[in-house]
Amino acid sequence: MNRSTSTWLVALVLLISVGCGQVQEQATESAVDQPEQDAELSEVDIAYEEAADAYEATEDPAERVAIAKDFLSRFPDTEKTDNALARAMYPLIEDLEKPDEAYALFEEYLPQITAPEVKFEAQQNLAVLHSMTGNREALSSLAKTMAAEHDFQYTDHLDLMEAAVEAEAWDLAIQQADASLALATPEAFKAQYDDISDEDAQRWGRRREAFSAAHKGWAQENLGHHEAALDTFASNAEKTTYSFLGIDDTPLHIYWGKSLILQGRFEQAMEKLEVEALYGPKEAKEAFIEAWAALHGSDEGLEEHFWSLRQKNAKPLPQFTLANYDGDTIDTADFVGDVLLVAAWNPT
């Protein structure tokens, strides 16, 4: 796996965790429904809840698989079977150390799933597995199966597009990008979120187009369609949105810069990568350094250059006040003149 795709893997891993969350949610819902029919939870429900608790309590993938397998062996055919099958398949993907074992679980359990939505989710996770192992042919054939069995939403195309880029299955990436582009309309946004304003629907719809186009352009470049790639980037650049630091909310500028590097246009590449290299993901800085070194023969002078770019691009920190755990208010205006490090975190 190269670094250029590792960032987008985060999104895929998120997909996995969201997937598991959905499985859990379905399980909880049916467990809640049960008491209306009879006063007590069935043996299956109780065992499933216990298994689910044990599953959540451990972070060890092998243990999670074992918990799900144990449940399946005790209750081979119940309304919980699909969810348990799903839980048996997913853990090994998250930190893929044993691809063969992960594949074996999918081969054994995926065909046993009956509910279409659980099956589709399992297929999405199998697509992630194919992308992580670079199994292009299997990914393309899976994509065909999935398309034949389901009505794809915008995000379904996106997931496959990113999996395809990860696996360097460029034709599939372009195909999925095009399909997602067809659904990346303001109208689709309005249909999905009924309280969204026309203006926002327009803006987010266009940003979706830029997101898909970014991947499409990168795939075109990798297929050797250099001019088409540059055309894709240029014609979609104005559709993207930027953070207040000037970072592209889509990977368009990063893929544009990386494509220009592949074409030997290093100065243009640095221009596209400039803000991303300062404030964006690490791969942008690495690409920028690559372009600099290719142009200058070494990375000499690079630190000075970055310093001047920082001076040029620096934005003021927005002022804010927040409370600490003792209830005291902290105002960033009180720290003017200090060097200030602001770190955003989530406790785990």
């Binding site: 953070s243 207040f244 630091l245 300062l278 993901p281 955003a344 975190w345």
Partner: protein, 102 residues
């Protein structure tokens, strides 16, 4: 995790004008306080606001964690760090020193 690695920097440079603020964007008070106590974190630990406009998501436009901004004495964001890898604290210390001296 990034936060415990910031504590030595705070201890070392607070007298020279370094301030560190950490914001829990999830408002997961119980976990946050446990983590802070376990790691003896002594710099400013804040909770994000509830409701429509949040500091982390809306004002600072941060949506991946951990992310940090390093701000110079003129209040300008000169560095942003997305994620935190082994050894990143060395780079961060260089940047802090550079900003403290400039």
């Amino acid at each position: 995790m990034e936060l415990p690695r910031l504590e030595p920097l705070w201890q070392k440079y607070q007298d020279q004008g370094l301030t560190i603020i950490a914001i829990d964007s999830n408002r997961d008070t119980e976990r946050a306080q446990k983590f802070i106590a376990e790691n003896n974190l002594t710099y400013h630990m804040l909770e994000d606001t509830e409701g429509e406009e949040t500091v982390v998501g809306d004002k600072l436009q941060i949506n991946g964690f951990p992310t940090s901004y390093l701000v110079d004495r003129q209040g300008r964001i000169l560095y942003s760090h997305i994620g935190f890898d082994e050894g990143d604290e060395v780079k961060l210390e260089e940047e802090i020193r550079k900003l403290l001296e400039s």
